[in-house]
């Protein structure tokens, strides 16, 4: 906790970029990870990944 108060937080922002931009404006240490929630149901994602099977192997 002391270290956190002394050095300040190191932030990983996931998803909404606005929070990352706000932190950077305040010169806080932050990195941003582009991420969006899935746009389809898990069942369809599974079926699509099956079609892709082998691509990542």
């Amino acid at each position: 906790m002391k270290k956190l108060l002394k050095e300040g937080p190191k932030t990983v922002n996931i998803g909404l970029r606005g929070f990352y931009d706000a932190l950077k404006q305040q010169e806080s240490s932050a990195i941003h990870v582009e991420w969006r929630p899935p746009i389809v149901k898990t069942d369809l994602l599974k079926r699509l990944r099956k079609l892709r099977k082998g691509r990542e192997q």
Binding site: R36, I39, V40, L44, L45, L48, K50, L51, G54, R55
Partner: protein, 417 residues
């Protein structure tokens, strides 16, 4: 390599092998396959008159007046509502049109040929910015300008283009696009370099074929004053290059994206001719003075073919100056391009981005990647007023809605399970 990967590789090879050349011009009803009298082509997927948005209504009113099917706006509305006029998507006739994208039987069109595969595509000449038909304007000045384009601009350009198409160095549109990307264009909302390169290439032929120096100077001044003159040719290049991807069994590459101002639609290589549709998005627009966000119509135009081709919004990093027109910063432009690599199956072999150490532009939107990542394509686009007749209100960035991709993915998964 999976069957999908192999099919996508085949599709992309066809895209990279495409050789779009400007080969001629003609009047739409004599030139575009399946074009008939009392038919109007429009941007995006199929739509009926009662579902059309303001700019498309404005453009079909203007086209009705231009064709002489009505003598007043009121009469034009009656003719259009009567069922007498057939409305079909440009894309169903190997054609593309920016914004409302309306092509009527009497309008002149460019002819672009993909010399690798022999297929052709068609597009009208670009009218310029502001109060123009493609933005839904239809007042007397719009119709007068269209008549000048038909009676003066068209015959002069036609003669010069036909001369060049038979010469040893016909106009290679792919080459112009590749060069323009290195000169700060992304070829959707910035066509300054593309227009300049075309102008430079065609000027000697115009001088040789047109004997009327007064008319010629007006033609040259018009092209010089219209930074978007190359847009329609770039779109026709994209269309001619992408059409051979239709029907490649197992391929998940998107080969058409288009909007009619009400609906957004896509077609996928392995799913053939079927449109997958959803409601059109609302663009985030840098407005011209005097307009508000409430004035902006939902997204419209076949110009999304540029991003489908791997340029336009996908090549924003190549065009830092574009942010003055569409909003944001040059860093945003780079970020948009980098994001699009996540959903594309390849990097372009011909179109490269100097700012990214000459990396190929993200090319070949993979339906499966869009659905898996949730990242949908980014476009930089013009924006029209939602009231018919008002014209352009600005330009900006718009992200395509996901629903059309999801419904296409469901059919794709079913078909290729």
């Amino acid at each position: 390599m999976t069957k999908v990967d192999a099919a996508n590789k085949q599709a992309l090879q066809k895209l990279f092998d495409a050789e779009p050349f400007l080969v001629g011009m003609g009047i739409a009803k004599d030139t575009i396959p399946g074009m008939k009298d009392k038919m109007l082509l429009h941007a995006g997927p199929h739509i009926t008159y009662d579902r059309m948005s303001g700019p498309l209504i404005g453009a079909v009113i203007g086209a009705t007046l231009y064709e002489g099917w009505a003598d007043s706006v009121e009469e034009a509305r009656e003719v259009l509502a009567s069922g007498e006029i057939v409305f079909e998507p440009c894309h169903e006739h190997a054609s593309v049109g920016p914004m409302a994208g309306v092509i009527s039987p009497g309008m002149p069109v460019f002819v672009v040929e993909n010399r690798k595969f022999g297929n052709r595509s068609y597009a009208t000449m670009n009218e310029g910015l502001g109060r123009v038909l493609r933005m839904g304007a239809f007042d007397d000045s719009v119709i007068t300008h269209l008549r000048w384009m038909e009676n003066t601009l068209f015959p002069i350009l036609k003669e010069a283009i036909e001369k060049r198409s038979n010469a040893e160095d016909p106009i290679d549109l792919k080459n112009i696009i590749a060069q323009a990307l290195h000169m700060g264009d992304e070829l959707h909302n910035r066509n300054k370099a593309g227009t300049s390169l075309l102008f430079r290439s065609l000027a000697p032929d115009l001088a040789e074929t047109c004997q009327d120096s007064e008319k010629l100077s007006r033609v040259l001044r018009f092209i010089d004053s219209n930074d978007h003159f190359f847009l329609n040719l770039g779109m026709a290049s994209a269309k001619a290059s992408l059409d051979p991807l239709n029907g490649i069994e197992g391929s998940s590459i998107v080969y058409i994206m288009a909007r009619n101002g009400t609906d957004f639609g896509i077609k996928v290589s392995g799913l053939g001719d079927t449109w997958f549709k959803c409601a059109a998005a609302q663009p985030d627009v840098l407005l011209f003075p005097g307009f508000t966000r409430d004035d902006v119509n939902p997204d419209i135009g076949d110009s999304a073919i540029m991003e489908t081709y791997g340029i336009g919004g996908f090549a924003l990093a190549a065009a830092p100056a574009i942010v003055q027109f569409v909003g944001g910063t040059p860093a945003d432009a780079v970020r948009y391009t980098r994001e699009m690599y996540e959903i594309c199956a390849a990097e372009n072999k011909s179109f490269t981005i100097p700012q990214l150490n000459f990396r190929g532009t993200p090319t070949g939107i993979d339906l499966l990647s869009v659905v898996e990542t949730g990242i949908t394509p980014i476009l930089d686009t013009g924006a029209a007023h939602k009231v018919p007749g008002k014209g352009q209100v600005g330009a900006g960035i718009v992200r395509m809605p996901s629903e059309a991709f999801v419904s296409a993915a469901e059919v794709f998964a079913e078909k290729y399970a």
